[in-house]
Amino acid sequence: MEHIEANQTLAVERYLLGDMAAAELEQFEEHLFLCPECAESIKTGAVFVENARAVCKEPAAEAEGEPSRRIIKWKQPPWWKRFRTPSFAPALAALALLCVAGYQQLVVIPGLRTQLAEVTAPQPLPSFALHAASRGAQPSIVVPADAHFFDLYFDVAVENPSGYSCAILDGLGSVRFTEHLSLPGPEAGGTLNLLIGRSRLRAGEYTLVVSTEAPRVLEIGRYPFKVEYR
């Protein structure tokens, strides 16, 4: 084997990699012992290979400040980052769903059942008559503290077949809520009843404004009152 041929065929690299057939190996080794350039290359290559083996065997976590090691080094991520891998997504979603369902089953639904039982249980209904606004003192209605509802009833002077709109205004004149009431039957004698949940009205001063409904809207009465809970 000639040096040019050895160069062109990367014989040194093939020798170090074990890429030579037996016959070619014999020829190259003979050349190697005679050619100073190939001899130099093969010695350098052997040193590189031996040191590369040694470097690759080294523990990764050493010697900060050496760029090559920083690249090779594998650093264990914090435990919480493991949950960011996609494989954990379905498990985490299932866990979250389980937590929500458990909370609803153990806390929310029993609470709602209790409230429903309390509300639907037979109970006294406090009723209070409202009178149209007058120059006298504002009437107070005192609702028992344990009552869930109370009833307001009042008379209207104008009969409207389509019913009535009842708006509750607070002390500042803002509408708290509006309800539709149908025309009362003859047995009611023109008296309207408005059932109010106590949670909808805090203690304070209010005015009930009754109007006819479309097509011809007309205020037909104002009933101021003050709510207290005792």
């Binding site: 990367l10 040194v12 690299e13 093939r14 020798y15 170090l16 990699l17 074990g18 890429d19 014999e26 080794e29 003979e30 190697l32 012992f33 005679l34 100073p36 001899a39 130099e40 290359s41 093969i42 010695k43 350098t44 290559g45 052997a46 040193v47 590189f48 290979v49 031996e50 040191n51 590369a52 083996r53 040694a54 470097v55 690759c56 065997k57 050496e66 760029p67 090559s68 090691r69 920083r70 690249i71 090779i72």
Partner: protein, 200 residues
Amino acid sequence: MPRSTSGFTMERQDFDAQYVSRLTEGDPSVEHHFTVYFGEFLNIKLRRRGWNSHEVEDIRQETFLRVLQVLRQKQGLEHPERLGAFVNSVCNNIILEFYKTRARHPAFDPDGIEPIDHTIDMDGSVLAEENKKMVRVILGELPEADRKLLKMVFLEEADRDEVCRIMKVDRGYLRVLLHRALLRFKDLANRGKQAAFARP
């Protein structure tokens, strides 16, 4: 003792009639050069062929002994410039003898536990550490895939074809990759040597 341009090995001298003559006469400095210079080649050759460290050392010693015996019996070589080829052929003969010994004595287990080979580190731990640093730099400069490829080839001793198939490269790519790494290694070594000379 003279060093090569790469800073790794014993410098090659001209193997002429004078060199062979001094070797034949037993000149200690020439004998030392001869054993170190060719010792490196024999080490590479024998390791490349899978002999373990003890066997490498035995074959090397036997090779040197026989070469010197022949030189002294014949009072030199007819073609002193071919001293290297002569050493290689003597070594090949001894390898054949060792193969026969293996065949006759199966207990002579070639697959036995291989002790760590320190023979490549002939210049001591300081030079070895410098070499490692250079190798780390070179590996660090390589793309991740190339670094992994070299690691699989040199460290894991995996089948080359299998490695190439896994890494989706051909054998030619592997050779060129090693070729470039070696060029870079020589370049770094030369720079290190120049820097060492530049120091006050």
